[in-house]
Symmetry: C2
Subunit: 212 residues, 2 copies
């Protein structure tokens, strides 16, 4: 079946009022629900993405990384943004593995190149190979190299949009505490929350052949 | 200056008699020495790689991941190999950051594709961009997707060899406890240990223009 892109918002899985404060209980519950959805529908192919929440935003804001990276100090900030994203990513993927989901982290920064903030290159083949194998690839908002800005930050949504043409997902779902939504090819994308996840899981099971 | 590839052996930075036992003191000392070498020679461009030691080898051996990955159980093993490599990589990069080195992890599995155990595709441009920016890119032995075997494991040396043509390093240095060495274009590559690292650092400073 065509894959589904599911983003867990940074505000959902971290406490944005703290510094690098993961909401381990929420993460464990979401991981368990994803495992249940996979077991209920073995054909389900998910690409999971997550925001940085209280992890990446501190360093990113301190150094203005998204706007560009030029000085040695700003490159130090770039390295800190990258490390913060990977620290959170480790917790997300480990929570999925602990719940029985064969999750594999695939770091956007390792293959992406941007031109003035826009992703122009990103490796989709490992994500495609992971989906074919029945794994759950995990991507995330990340630091990224940029031919104009030197370096920048790309959001989970920007990474997902860069993968849409190659992976052709049937759905793009955003799970967050705050209002969200993304318009893809003229369609309003459903927004899910912990409260509505059961209904979304039903939709996941019934989404075969549905193209956005 | 042309980059230098430096590999820290898994047996050097982990205790292979334990399970996921990092040698934090050795790691901190090596990170400090790398920072000193960078300060002594600001033009130094290093690509750091590290083996998996007691982290990746347990899952890899249990599931026979290098030989091929086909069943759901073997793919679970692939996910575990990937996670173990990233857990160690996190410790290495965090140790470098703590020592003042602007290190950035760049995960091989996120861009590599193999054909029957041989890397045929890997993204070199983020590593090149990191070097140009004065960052220290960190790579590692990793799980990798393979068009023949499904999945496999690639060693740090195999990742480095796949990058040689694009990045054209002047030196490839291996730091380990056990005997090692790699023949690159007919040259014997020097092997360094914690005991000989000071001499190697001197060589790093004097390697400008030396091509292997």
């Amino acid at each position: 079946m065509t894959p589904i892109f599911l983003k867990l918002g940074g505000s959902l899985i971290t406490d944005k009022t703290g510094v690098e404060a993961v909401r381990a209980d929420v993460l464990a519950r979401l991981a368990g629900e994803i495992q249940q959805a996979r077991q209920a529908n073995p054909d389900l192919r998910l690409v999971l993405g997550h925001g940085s929440g209280s992890f990446g935003h501190v360093a990113g804001a301190k150094y203005g990384t998204r706007q560009g990276v030029h000085t040695a100090q700003e490159w130090r900030g770039f390295a800190e943004v990258s490390a913060a994203a990977l620290r959170l990513n480790r917790l997300v993927t480990e929570a999925l593995l602990a719940a029985g989901v064969p999750a594999v982290s695939l770091q956007p920064c390792a293959s992406a190149m941007c031109v003035d903030g826009r992703i122009t290159t990103i490796a989709a083949h490992p994500i495609q190979a992971a989906l074919t194998a029945g794994l759950l690839p995990v991507i995330h908002g990340d630091a990224a190299f940029d031919t104009v800005r030197g370096g920048t930050i790309v959001s989970t949504e920007e990474v997902m949009m860069a993968l849409v043409e190659t992976l052709r997902p049937s759905w793009l779902l955003l799970a967050g505490e705050t209002a969200g939504g993304l318009d893809l090819a003229g369609q309003v994308i459903p927004r899910i929350t912990p409260q509505t996840l059961p209904q979304v899981e039903a939709a996941l099971g019934g989404s075969r052949g549905t193209d956005v």
